[in-house]
Symmetry: C2
Subunit: 488 residues, 2 copies
């Protein structure tokens, strides 16, 4: 876990592994399939030409029989069958082609749809307590009066103490229409508050826009969910009406999403008839998606980093090559393939997400495993991405530790003197620790124990959240201003 | 890769992963199966009760069809099917239950049988050259006159230069009866020598015995292959006839092998009628294997370490609990299960190795994930297990690196002064590097470049190979002597 501002809060929903999220999806509930004969449960009744042969089936049956009759413990047969499907997908050696059993599939679908069922509070772990970061606009939590800073004590009378964040979140979530009773400790209120909330569909926000006082608009897109296109156009219109002079589109750490959505986001910036993206099928046939009309008179920069993947790269590629935009930040992730999520072909709620094509930029570049290079490279300050302190040991003078590396980066980020950042706890490191302890009211020991470590992280998070420390964003704004001929 | 004396030489055969080798096997070519109906290829023709249902089969067919028709690249269908079987085995969550396709299965069978087809030379990589460590007794290589120290230059006129050890080994090996022409550079001989060798079955040695001048015998067992039992008894008889007063059985880094073999090794030390091992099937039923007669008048120690697994632990457990032996060294690996390798049920040469039972010591202890504790604990000197130097960078004063930790352990092991072993290149470290360089004829820079690193490793290997630095072995001998009332 990094300290990147936006990832400090653990969104209630984002508990999936990265390779699942890095995606560019065509979901088969919206995209019609060809007549390949793939339909739920049909394969065994009407054997297709690609069905398992007698010999292949014999092999699988033999192994299943060995497991059921000889293995030294009893085994859940469903788990073994899921294992077989996992194994088939893994044999493709493509991290983006995966099988998800029902639970993971449900989470994935929520992510793609940009909505989930729950109370709609974003929570984080703070000092070992489940703490509300914010209540999502118009969510059941907001309507019931949940506030940022509220500490969740219990769910339906079950205490949350000692649970991990994801276990706590699992308790809070539940089906639409069901009730959940939350026990809350509110800062400044003596007794716990009890709120009963009816769970509902909650749209989570993927688009965050603001207009700076200098006339530059910044729209951050966190992922390309189904509702992201509409929300983006809404915010773009709003900023334009406010007289925006230039636009930064921030897709840092955006893992991707749905292809038609990113096309709709790119379209306003790409002139009519020009390609936004090309898709190449397994036969090598290419199909271009052309803009239905767009082009802006104000300058645009796309802000990206090595976490900008897939749909984010489609956007960056299209806006650079056909939209005259400048790419600022770091080389992007490098994922140049398109997946379809087949969520109806398995009748048990499982889902197969499979790579079906490559995508190429308008000029025919394949970014896979290379990424897009920025026109203007800016690295984030090293304290943005520093590893967290483990807090399991006390760090002291003249020792060596990975944690001391992090400590030194943090101290430097907070403006204290540092002579080395290599993990050797030097005299200067000790002096700076003492100065930090002095200034933040922690016992001045020169050693970094749990209390000092937590205070360091707290102060660092504050610093990361101040926009004027975001050197990548500042550069993206500067590039726009130089085009507009405004003195920075 | 560690510097443990015996692992410095890469045996021509041992290219398999550790979890495959850690085993206690009943191979189905020697052990009759019950009437569970598992037979090669039969399952699909006469459906058993555990066969895949229509619904399960439908699911697998659907995924196979998606892969064959939609995936963005063409796929090797055999690989996908192997993936399915791998996935089924992985779902068991047992590292010892694995599917091996033909190539791996063949290597595994060779390991179990204690023989392979080839020329019978043990080779290692030395200064970037494929060098013969030894020619196995009675092997084609020995008969053709291959000597330790010979550098292999070419195989069938193909140069070996630049190849990895395992790639070179793959070139040398081949089917029984086939010819291979080796180009050899022999130390002290000006021109290359060319030898043509006919490949044959080669028994590799798993038992190494010697009688020390003090009358203590040491028998090292490297693994329990099919021929190990016979070889052990042969060597045991030989040492006894030479008047052995006490015996060290060294099973350090012995990953296991075949259950009936370890029973035959234990038997001479366990009195008639006493249990050697107990096997508990999936129903919880226990069966004891009783000794057919044994017991020795001389004292025995079993020397083990954390690499002593499975069959090694059966031996240590039996000899401790029923053979009056003393366990010396470190807590063993901790693997308390029995596998059967089903190598005939899949008709394509593949093999399913599956855990079918637990095994327990004579007194009913299950060592799984705990290991056996030694009666006398002795750790090896830290330079025995030090990580190798990466040799990709030059190490110098006042820097921090994992490689510097290794360097400091090596310097101390070679008798040079060290003030720290934490990876910080101190003044004392530099002084010791200079002293080492001075004494070994390397340019005296105080920095550790590739030349100095290689010289350090060379000297360390020499030191490791001297028996009188083997503190664990020395302790095992000392324990015997105290029992014999011989002043050490």
């Amino acid at each position: 876990m990094h300290f990147k501002g936006r990832t400090v809060a653990a969104f209630i929903l984002l508990t999936m592994v990265a390779s699942v999220l890095v995606t560019l999806t065509l979901a088969d509930r919206w995209i019609a399939l060809g007549s390949g004969g793939v339909a739920a449960g049909s394969a065994s009744n009407s054997p297709g030409q690609d069905d398992l042969s007698e010999k292949e089936l014999g092999k699988l049956n033999t192994v299943m029989e060995l497991i059921e009759t000889k293995y030294f413990r009893e085994v859940d047969r469903t788990k073994v069958l899921d294992g077989a499907i996992n194994g088939m997908m893994e044999a493709l050696d493509d991290p983006y082609s995966v099988y998800m059993e029902k639970h993971t599939a449900d989470q994935f679908s929520e992510s793609i749809e940009g909505s989930f069922t729950g109370v709609g509070a974003s929570v984080t772990m703070k000092d070992g307590k489940i703490t509300v970061e914010s209540a999502i606009k118009d969510s059941p939590a907001q309507r019931a009066g949940v506030l940022a800073g509220d500490v969740l004590l219990s769910v339906n009378e079950d205490k949350l103490e000692g649970l991990s964040l994801s276990d706590a979140v699992a308790k809070i979530r539940g089906p639409k229409g069901s009730k959940v009773k939350l026990g809350i400790q509110r800062p400044g209120v003596a007794n716990p508050i009890h709120l009963t909330i009816v769970r509902d569909d909650v749209d989570f926000e993927t688009v965050f826009a603001n207009l700076r006082s200098d006339g530059i608009g910044v729209i951050e897109i966190r992922q390309f969910s189904l509702n992201t296109g509409e929300r983006f156009i809404e915010e773009l219109d709003r900023l334009e009406k406010l007289g925006m002079k230039g636009l930064v589109i921030d897709v840092r750490d955006n893992p991707g999403g749905v292809l038609p959505v990113v096309v709709s986001v790119a379209q306003p910036f790409v002139p009519k008839g020009k390609p936004i993206v090309q898709v190449e099928d397994r036969g090598g046939k290419r199909e271009q998606t052309l803009s239905k009309g767009g082009g802006k008179s104000y300058p645009v920069t796309v802000l990206m980093n090595k976490g900008s993947a897939s749909a984010s790269e489609v956007l960056a590629g299209a806006l650079k090559e056909e939209g005259n935009a400048v790419l600022v930040g770091q080389t992007s992730f490098g994922k140049g393939t398109v997946q379809v999520s087949y969520d109806k072909v398995l009748d048990d709620g499982g889902l197969v997400k499979m790579t079906i094509a490559k995508w190429l930029t308008p000029l025919g570049n394949w970014v896979h495993e290379k990424g897009l290079k920025p026109d203007v490279e800016v690295l984030p300050p090293d304290y943005y991405t520093v590893a967290r302190l483990s807090k399991t040991k006390t760090l002291a003078r003249d020792t060596i530790d990975e944690d001391i590396k992090s400590l030194q980066i943090m101290l430097a980020g907070l403006g204290y003197e540092t002579d080395r950042k290599d993990g050797y706890f030097s005299e200067v490191t000790e002096k700076s620790v003492k100065a930090f302890q002095q200034q933040t009211g922690v016992p001045v020991t020169g050693k970094v124990d749990k209390t000092t470590a937590e205070k360091l992280e707290e102060k660092l998070i504050e610093r990361v959240r101040e926009d004027n420390n975001d050197t990548q964003l500042l550069k993206a704004v500067e590039v726009l201003k130089s085009k507009l001929d405004i003195t920075p």
